[in-house]
């Protein structure tokens, strides 16, 4: 069953997580049990494959990219470069998707944080810009072989053109945010966690 004591969630840990996210104790314990069931090998951390073992994610055209953004954000938040995710990092990323509450302010789930997740997903080489090629890669993974490269090119050109305020041929995070201004990101990137 893999219930070695090292896999237990300690009370201090729960409290630390509670202080940096908006999750309550109950939610953290539940997420932890999910974390353990994702961690099939019982290593105490998650790898890319652990995520992609979830069929519903693997079938998502952007599943791979989502996992990538997950890891990118986790490693940019601090310590590790390697492709492992511990529970702490796991929860921190999920906290980006908490609904924005009017009462409590928290550092992780603002509109900007939510957008950053999407931006990271597009920014394949992690240089903080989305280029035309990068956009093409994402769009391509969304539609597969169903549109021609000609059409893809046209759409990509137009997309970059439209948001590229400083005419440098690529989209920065600011430009990205501006272009998404009218989109209801608060709603679209919030997951309803139960109490």
């Amino acid at each position: 069953m893999g219930n070695s004591s090292s896999l237990m969630l300690r009370d201090e840990e729960i409290e630390e997580i509670m202080s940096e996210t908006e999750f309550n104790r109950n939610q953290i314990v539940r997420l932890y049990s999910r974390f353990l069931s994702l961690d099939k090998k019982g290593q105490g951390f998650l790898s890319r494959d652990d995520f992609l073992n979830v069929p519903e994610l693997a079938v998502n055209p952007l599943g791979d990219r989502i996992v990538d953004a997950f890891f990118t954000l986790a490693s940019s938040n601090g310590d590790n470069e390697e492709q492992q995710l511990n529970f702490r990092q796991f929860v921190r990323i999920l906290a980006h998707f908490q609904p924005i509450s009017r009462v409590k302010k928290n550092a992780l789930n603002s509109r900007k944080d939510k957008l950053l997740f999407a931006f990271k997903m597009y920014d394949l080489n992690k240089n903080d810009y989305i280029t035309r090629e990068e956009f093409k890669v994402i769009l391509n993974s969304m539609v597969g072989a169903n549109i021609t490269s000609d059409q893809l090119d046209k759409i990509a050109d137009r997309t970059i053109e439209e948001a590229d305020a400083d005419r440098d041929g690529k989209i920065s995070f600011d430009e990205f945010c501006r272009a998404m201004e009218k989109t209801d990101i608060e709603e679209k990137m919030s997951i309803r966690f139960l109490n």
């Binding site: 109950n26 995520f51 994402i138 997309t159 997951i191 139960l194």
Partner: protein, 617 residues
Amino acid sequence: MLGIEHLLFVLTTFAFPPVALTVLLCIILATFGKSLGLRQMYVDTLINIFEWGARQIKTTEKIRRKESALTAPFFLNKLSEEADDDEDEIRSMETPHFEATDGITDDEIEARSETESHDSGEDFPSVDSDFGDESCLKRKFGSTTSLASVGSCCSLRNRKMSESSTLGIIKRETQIYLDDNFSEDIPDEVFVRSRGWAAIRDSVDFVKAGMEAIIEDEVTSRFEAEQLVSWNMLTRTSIKFYQFVNWKLSALWILGFMFRYCVMLPLRFTVFCIGLVFLISSTALIGLVPIGNWKKALNHKCMLICYRILSRSLTAVVYFHDEHYKAQAQGICVANHTSPIDALILSIDNVYALIGQKHEGLLGIVQRALSRASSHIWFERSEAKDRLVVAQKLKEHCTNPDKLPILIFPEGTCINNTSVMMFKKGSFEIGTTIYPIAMKYDSRFGDAFWNSSEQSWCGYIMRMMTSWAIICNVWYLPPMTRRDGEDAVDFANRVKKEIANKGGLVDLEWDGGLKRAKVPPKMVAKQQERYANRLSRYTSVSEVVKDEDVDVTSDYLVDKPVSGYNSLEDLPEDVFIDEEEDETIDAHDENENDDPAGESNILPNKPLSDTVSLVKT
């Protein structure tokens, strides 16, 4: 040494008569298919005990909560309040949400509440069970409101181990559907400022769907033991219960443990061995009888006796409903699959020919024994790939009026009895009558689910024998035949739906094969195709103005006048019809030359709400 021997001797002398008598009684009753109602009494008593236990837990938690409310920091206070009214909490969570986002059109709210009600409908299939008095133990399915007070209290401080909870972490809003219901989510033409940015916005939906799947998904949880809301005095199912509640419960648990291991296990094991020996020897004898009516009748009688004895070794209490639909002549019986004992349970009531993979060990011995008496179809694992061979054998079997009705579990894998997964279409391609059977175990008395990747078959039987009992409801459904023009996949889905409805199970489109295999690229390709289709509906305003319309996939878009259809009803019929037909044919063709797991399902995203918002921009 001598002392121990002596003690053992005395013990056996005293223990032998009652044990022997019980076993004998059991076997005699089984032979004639009679019951004294002892098992029923046993089950009723257990229910009472469990209810008492649940009440104990509740009261202890209440006391504890009050105590902690006095001393603990604020968050515990808050928690206890939350636990008090889960349902209200969820409601109140939803409402401000709608208010907070302004500028939502009425349509959108309507659409959303519609999908929500649809979701909840899926989440809580009604379970009609034979027990009337289970109010406080009633199992809850799905996620949202199922945090019944007992369960949520316990899980507060409990370290649940590897089971993913069916007790819901989030309320899922975006979900990937695996049905062919195209029309629902293809928006009609939508004007956007730029197609690229519309795609980016849509990608956010994919992200949400993906993140939700990471937190809670429909599929992987079905391959793990189902979680119970209340404790059934077994340490393995439900919430882990290593925590001390009060001495009364602990004493009860110890008593129960002693009873299960020291009384039930030896008795059951004896009965099981006798049943097994009887099965093997009787089939060997029947094998010698020349083929004819005699052999058939003898086989029928012997098999029923064998299975009844074996089922008693697990204290199986099976309720059969609608027996007039029971398969009499040749045909295919399909049932949902939870464990290897499914076949045993069903065979108490009727004799079936079985089909399945060849196994090793004990199960292999049983399989070979069965084959001596009547014809069953066992195939090698490698041969399973070669569907044609199996299909051929199946067809031969079904067309021979002398053969028994054949029992098939078309899911191809064991699922934890909370849902029905995709039915492999093989058995539905043969034109015979299908007799659907729905099975629902009562997991409060022991989890019947066999997690084959974690447990050996013998280990599983051992666990069954040390459980309280195996309670199962079996519903025979009216026979079904393939309609004109219906393909095997549709037919399989129709049968699956019936079974899910009857058994109170969640009807899933996913392939149970994903338990072991990765998602095949074909499924992703389907999803991409679906999105491309959606993208093709976007008409960029600027592009129209500049008259350089980049049409993405379709020819019908070109001659279709650009107009602002706002609902599906406004859309010309033919667009959908053409498309759907193409789609299914495609899917079918692809399946033909592919593995048996063939998914013909298209995975739509759920863009209901954003179509509206896209129109606005």
